[in-house]
Point group: C2
Chain length 213, copies 2
């Protein structure tokens, strides 16, 4: 069985994974897109997203590692997008268009049931019975490969608080956002133990990986 | 003129420089002493504090660097200690006893005036007219050497918000504290730009250094 890990979430030096004034139309909040400048510039990331070119540097191997060996992805409803409330007659099909970069099943945590649908190699499933049910479904789909918790912050926090996250992989980006959503907040009563597995100094982000016990 | 920099403040992965339930008697809060386990184990730190022995590892050079070339230290009243209110007839002489590890003038931000006093090589000065006045005094004392902002969090935040901090040097410790005082909070309206200068992977902490513009 693979690991349950974060999908290398980028955080500002002040700990935010999204900036202030988050909306359903702008889920990264004000300034939050700067969290991803380091990764979208990399060839290793661009290739996965069907784009040519891009840089190679010390961050490239980190990106290749976290994109590898994933059998299923779990994300929160806000990360998937589509506004509040039920899905409606013309439901949102995600931010990623007809060629999503996943290539494996994606499980979306939601309060509103919806039939699965498929875009290219990716099938989106909508899970209404909680984070444990979603993880069970994702583990079944992933087999020996890893399950990643893609975000947002609240979803990651729920998996930490439930003791289900096994590996934390984040990139610390040298910006202050000054407000927004902190990745590590509301972690619950029983704080897990961490062990530092790896730290890599990229030119525009510091990548740290921890096992969670 | 030297730099104005933090004195390598340790923070938990969730961003706290002190744990919950901080008091004047326990300024690091519950679990907060674990933030410093990585450094007190090092020979490079123990030597500065008059102790023998200790480990040497990738963190040692970081500790030697941040302890070097300091001409003055600024700290908040809570970090200096001594309880709330005026100093009284039998005033607190700091946590560091008769042989403080500083060896240079220390400027304590306080609302309550007090005459300076000296312990071994260290003279403590009490500054009641604000952070800019304290920095001016500290720069005069430091000459060509650096001024460090030792903490606590609120003091660091005030210097960032005023645009006076030039270098941030922190160690990210693989623990969750789950509450307490966040180092980077209330940073003001005008967020400074950061540039990553260095990241060093120690076995028990990740050390990052940024220039602040």
């Amino acid at each position: 069985m693979g690991n349950v890990r974060t999908a290398n979430i980028s955080v500002s030096l002040d700990g935010y994974s999204a900036g202030p004034q988050q909306t359903h139309e702008n889920p990264l909040g004000t300034g939050g897109e700067r969290l991803h400048d380091w990764v979208v510039a990399l060839g290793a990331w661009r290739k996965r997203h069907g784009k040519d070119g891009g840089e190679a540097n010390a961050s490239s191997a980190v990106v290749e590692r976290w994109q590898a060996n994933i059998g299923a992805t779990i994300m929160g409803r806000n990360m998937f997008g589509g506004g509040p409330g039920p899905w409606g007659d013309d439901p949102w099909e995600g931010w990623w268009g007809p060629e999503p970069p996943f290539g494996h099943p994606v499980f979306v945590l939601t309060h509103h049931a919806r039939e699965p649908f498929t875009q290219a190699e990716t099938t989106y499933h909508f899970i209404t019975d909680g984070i444990e049910a979603a993880l069970e479904r994702a583990r079944d789909a992933a087999g020996d490969r890893d399950v990643t918790i893609a975000g947002g912050a609240q979803t990651v926090q729920q998996y930490i608080a439930a003791g289900l996250l096994e590996e934390i992989d984040i990139s610390i980006v040298p910006i202050f956002l000054g407000g927004g959503t902190r990745l590590f907040d509301d972690l619950g009563e029983t704080l897990p133990r961490l062990e530092l597995v790896e730290a890599v100094a990229g030119p525009a982000a510091t990548h740290v990986r921890y096992s969670v016990g």
